[in-house]
Symmetry: C2
């Protein structure tokens, strides 16, 4: 059985070096609150406010390290709440997505694009992917047998030496399935 641990992503933001400095001050370095399941990725102690047209989230967790482009990942529920209309996209694919206002202790950023609802996906280390016959970008059907059993028919496989086995879903998806981080998912085909 191809069993995968589930990681539920709450709304979070990845910041570029340039935006970290604008929001927190020149030369500022994020500090580590907690290591994440993917190697070298961490939840930072720092948070920012994000402001949409209808509302704001005062404390959105920053995930480090800095990335090339700033990217805010929200659930569809979050998006309705603050008044932004992001598409469902893979991480990094932000061309043409909406922007948002980001507020930190040292300044603000008017982000032009970068708000997405993250497409559900599984990170595989190259070794597991190879053993299971799974290739990068493959679309998988994945069953979650939580309190509210369901099968996602469109889970994207992402394969790299830099990844650890983990299925990433957002809070809407976790709540629809009745699962939490650490629960198990099963790849059906």
């Amino acid at each position: 059985m191809k069993e995968v641990p589930v990681g539920v992503s709450a709304r979070h933001i990845h910041l570029s070096e340039e935006h970290i400095e604008k929001l927190f001050g020149e030369g500022y370095q994020l500090t580590v609150l907690k290591d994440l399941s993917q190697p070298r990725q961490f939840a930072a102690n720092e948070t920012v406010e994000v402001r949409g047209s209808k509302g704001s989230f005062p404390k959105v967790r920053i995930l480090g390290p800095a990335r090339k482009h700033t990217q805010l990942e929200v659930s569809r529920t979050d998006a309705f709440q603050i008044g932004v209309k992001p598409p469902v996209r893979e991480s990094g694919d932000i061309a043409g997505t909406p922007g948002i206002t980001i507020v930190g202790p040292a300044g603000e950023v008017e982000l032009e694009e970068g708000v997405i609802v993250a497409a559900r996906h599984i990170h595989f280390h190259t070794k597991e992917a190879s053993e299971w016959g799974i290739t990068d970008k493959q679309i998988l059907r994945v069953q979650l047998q939580g309190e509210r059993p369901l099968t996602f028919d469109d889970v994207i496989a992402r394969v790299s030496d830099a990844y650890a086995l983990d299925m990433h879903i957002d809070t809407d998806e976790a709540n629809a399935a009745g699962v939490k981080t650490g629960d198990k998912a099963v790849i059906l085909d």
Copy 2:
């Protein structure tokens, strides 16, 4: 193909006659904003505030007519937001569920039990159910081919002469599937 229209339920409340009077005044009658898909059910013009331990929703839509027992239906996301821990239940099955504070223009109600996350279900008129070989309480697998395709493996069939064909899911479920009211679902078996 067994095709069913989807109806997305936002958070809402059903009130008993007694609670309508406590919240809106003696002899008060709800007024109709909009008829719903189920015969004789309606969204009322009236709303109430509901208050949990961590937050409140200032305008929760009342669905009429009055019921025997007051029942608040929220998504899991809603429940986290206001600090209440309802189980996933079928409508009407409220024994042992948490309560909540309800505030209306004429008074407040300390509800002792009645908060649920509604179990996903399909209403069938007896005629369709019979044609499709579906029986009351049967568990169905139902596919939603929206922006984020998925299959719910635990959809409860509810069959009655008083029902019209409609699949009811909450906002978490709709957002996880990328569907909206009026989209179509397909019963797989």
